[in-house]
Amino acid sequence: MKKTQISACIALLLAGAAAPALADDEVLTIHGFGNQDYWRSGTTSFSGSGPHGTWQNDDLGLIFRGTVNDKTHVYAQLQADATDPVQVLWMFVDYQVNDDLRVKAGKVKFPLGIYNEYVDTRGLQLSALTPLMYYDALDIVHDAYQGAGLDYTAALGTFGKVYLQGYFGNTPNSPAPYQAPAFTSPADVLEADTNDLHQWGYRVNWETPVDGLHLLASGYDTKTATTSLGGQTPNIVGNENLYIFSVDYTTEKLDVKSEYAHHHFPLLDDHPGLSSHAWYLQAGYHLGDWTPYARYDSVTADSAHGGDPSYYQHTFVVGIDRLLLDNLHVRVEDHLNHGYAMPVFDGDIAAGTGKVDWTLLAVQINYMF
């Protein structure tokens, strides 16, 4: 991270620390978080890690909430990490029509799965590293959309409650093309520029009558124009789509989550496109300030090459969380990996060059206020 970015973030964090979280009737509320990771991998490099380890994975973020009036608020998140400058991850206006209905417009974090909206706030998660399906490199879950959306809450009586979210827009970098991570095979790597034409998405979150049990379904559909690299004329218009099914069971002691995601991305000409899927099951148990946890993670980054370890990864994670101070966590976890899709898709190694079985040690300190 550049010094100027660090300075800016520290100044922002200090400003935030000096302005503690305020009540709803206050004009401005500031919250924030910081994560510092140490990663060391055995034989396969991943996100800068290697046998000597790396401290390069860190994040600093601030969440602002401004009150315009009793019903209207403005939200924004600023963030910087080791590789990107300070940026506005999302910023939107929220209008409360009534207790059950809200509308929002601007750049809004995708309501996808359990974790996407606070994927950067590690203190709200069970483990140091997020489940693999949330990694940018896999390109299953994206950051934010630009457009408008609504949130609706419906009470179902004895059947619990359901939270419905819907939105329409496109991804923030449209209409400027972005580089799609389009892999098909080690010898046939296609790269494509895409423009998101428009997009709609949803999330249904059912708070079931079973205390602590939520069932979720979410997804989006994007009309995408794909061009050859450097080309100007779209030569294919296809639909990129994603759906995720999630189960979240959280009690005072127990935290169990499981999700399945399927993503399809259209490619050039008559190519069938890139399909990927991922799932995980994780569980943790709170023992006072200690929380041991475990997770099984599986990704197939290209279903057409599901038997190639360059395109799949199965990971068993075991770790422990220690709450040192209020909102200050230290975590240590070990990843036992079979396959190396994430390093390939992250650009750390070329397809076909990884070791099938490899380990990753992650140590993390995270804080939020």
Partner: protein, 142 residues
Amino acid sequence: MNRRFLRTAAALAGLAALMIAGHAGAADFVIIVNKENSNPVDADYVGRAFRGDVKTWPSGEAISALALPEANPLRVAFDKEILGKAPNQTKAMWSALVFTGKAAPPKVVDSEANVVKTVAENKNAIGYVSAGAAGSSVKVVK
């Protein structure tokens, strides 16, 4: 030997009585609002307000909810009885709302006296204190 046993048993019984009394006392909270607040309030409405499900009084003004610190026995009792959650669950729930841009959590006030003071001064505030701490400057609604 028997005398030592009886002394130990008596001490344990005393400790248990203290724990029971402490527990009973911890659950003994009342919900208070400003004296000028004439909105109908029941336990369900209070729960929805402290979960962020409702943000305004029936009269349309913004609710200003006040919470005691996480370790306060009254907070533990309130979260359990009204919200049906342990304080760590409540904290996780509010953190998720805050960090996803959905709501601001109840303002944490350091003492019962300050809850009473804030509610007495703010027409839209709501909080909880022990029955003996409420006094006459606020209205007890539960």
